[in-house]
Symmetry: C2
Subunit: 250 residues, 2 copies
């Protein structure tokens, strides 16, 4: 196993940070690594905004659902799906971009964000930094858009706290490989595998909480997904110019 | 710059491969690296299907728009956004997952795919393998879903050719950093930066095509996005169970 694979497999989510700045050079390497990631048609549909100002971090911490680690981390990055630059290109070429009305723009933008953010994470973790992605950036997305002055065709997808981790939080066990990796076609006979994972997960939760919680993965996931968790997502998407016309016509 | 960052910044897209198998051990490291990536609420909304059978690769090459490198690569991985396991959990817990009707499920699934695929790419490239992501897997998505027997709540997002690269294709220049990286808030004054990049990109295209093409980035991107490029995406999304109810109500 080489160093890169060791880094990738060693990922963990830090939610507590030392009072120590992230060197500008490392932040630079994270951004350049992000930019080197592949993107759909080389469209580079990703923008990163770095927030270091304490008052702005505090405000973002609140908007993300009072997540104190956002304020504690010396740097909070916001990864956005971005077709604003494509729109500028369209104005230059004097054409209209019909593709932005298609739901595929959302899949492309979000996947590109994942690729870019994954690279930033690997660059950070390989340099001794600790991180945690913050999907809660979509909890109050209209306020986030206003605060960060995001133009049309830009959507906040995930935040990323970056700093020097204070305590090693350990790794959560993952689904057994056979649940997520198939040969030639999908094997949908997965209930047993999920039951096994539920036991592993419950044991892990017991250890981590000194016996207080024994939640299974199935319980954790369904308790989150049983309701619409962030009510403004559709409004955010439409306000930012992604009309999803083809979905509406179905 | 450490080895991991070197690997990330050295990414390039190989579309031609040596006639040499990918060792099972390396493929394993790629999948385990994927699994180690962070995911939204630890839901692990990603599935990878490995296709090695030549006839199936041939069929997929056709469905992706006659991309010969899919057949040539010894392994073709398909990365899917996957809430099928969440649905199995819901059946176990006897609840209904309202969140799957929300457009956010698509953002989450696609971003998770990007994170997982990014890790697989870094693992591959750090081990001397060459790759190219294939968004064309969404060109004929209904046929891909049938061929790979994807159940409800599973969407193919990107393919990934994996093998030993035959010729170094070089790196495409990226947008200037100031176009994609902002401090504290979005700086939307980007037209000049895009003009500069258009020149760089055009020069690169001229060199790469021995003077035959001098396309700018603005021309390339707008010529692709000026029409709906894959007409069945909305149908795929709805067929697989993502109703996007909240978008339809707007």
């Amino acid at each position: 196993m080489n160093e890169t694979i060791k880094t990738l497999k060693n990922h963990r989510s830090f939610r507590s940070y030392l009072d120590k700045d992230v060197p500008e050079e490392l932040l630079n390497e994270m951004i350049e690594s992000s930019q080197a990631a592949p993107s759909w048609i080389n469209g580079q549909q990703v923008t990163v905004i770095a927030v270091k100002d304490p008052a702005r971090k505090q405000k973002l911490a609140e908007l993300c659902g009072n997540q104190a680690h956002i304020k504690e981390a010396p740097v909070f990055l916001i990864f956005c799906a971005d077709f604003y630059r494509a729109q500028l290109a369209a104005e230059k070429e004097n054409v209209t971009l019909e593709a932005l009305d298609d739901i595929d723009a959302l899949l492309v933008g979000a996947a590109d964000v994942g690729l870019a953010m994954g690279n930033a994470i690997a660059a950070a973790e390989s340099s001794g930094l600790g991180i945690v992605p913050i999907g809660g950036i979509r909890r109050n997305p209209l306020e986030v858009i206003e605060l960060l002055e995001l133009p049309k065709y830009v959507l906040p997808i995930s935040g990323l706290c970056v700093g020097y981790g204070a305590e090693d939080p350990g790794q959560k066990p993952r689904l057994p490989k056979e649940a997520v990796y198939h040969q030639e076609s999908y094997n949908s006979d997965l209930q047993k595998t999920i039951n096994t994972y539920d036991e592993t997960y419950s044991e892990y939760m017991k250890k981590r909480t000194n016996g207080e919680k024994d939640t299974t993965w199935s319980e954790a996931v369904t308790s989150f997904y049983k309701q619409t968790y962030y009510p403004s997502i559709a409004q955010m998407v439409e306000q930012q110019g992604f009309t999803c016309k083809n979905i509406k016509k179905l």
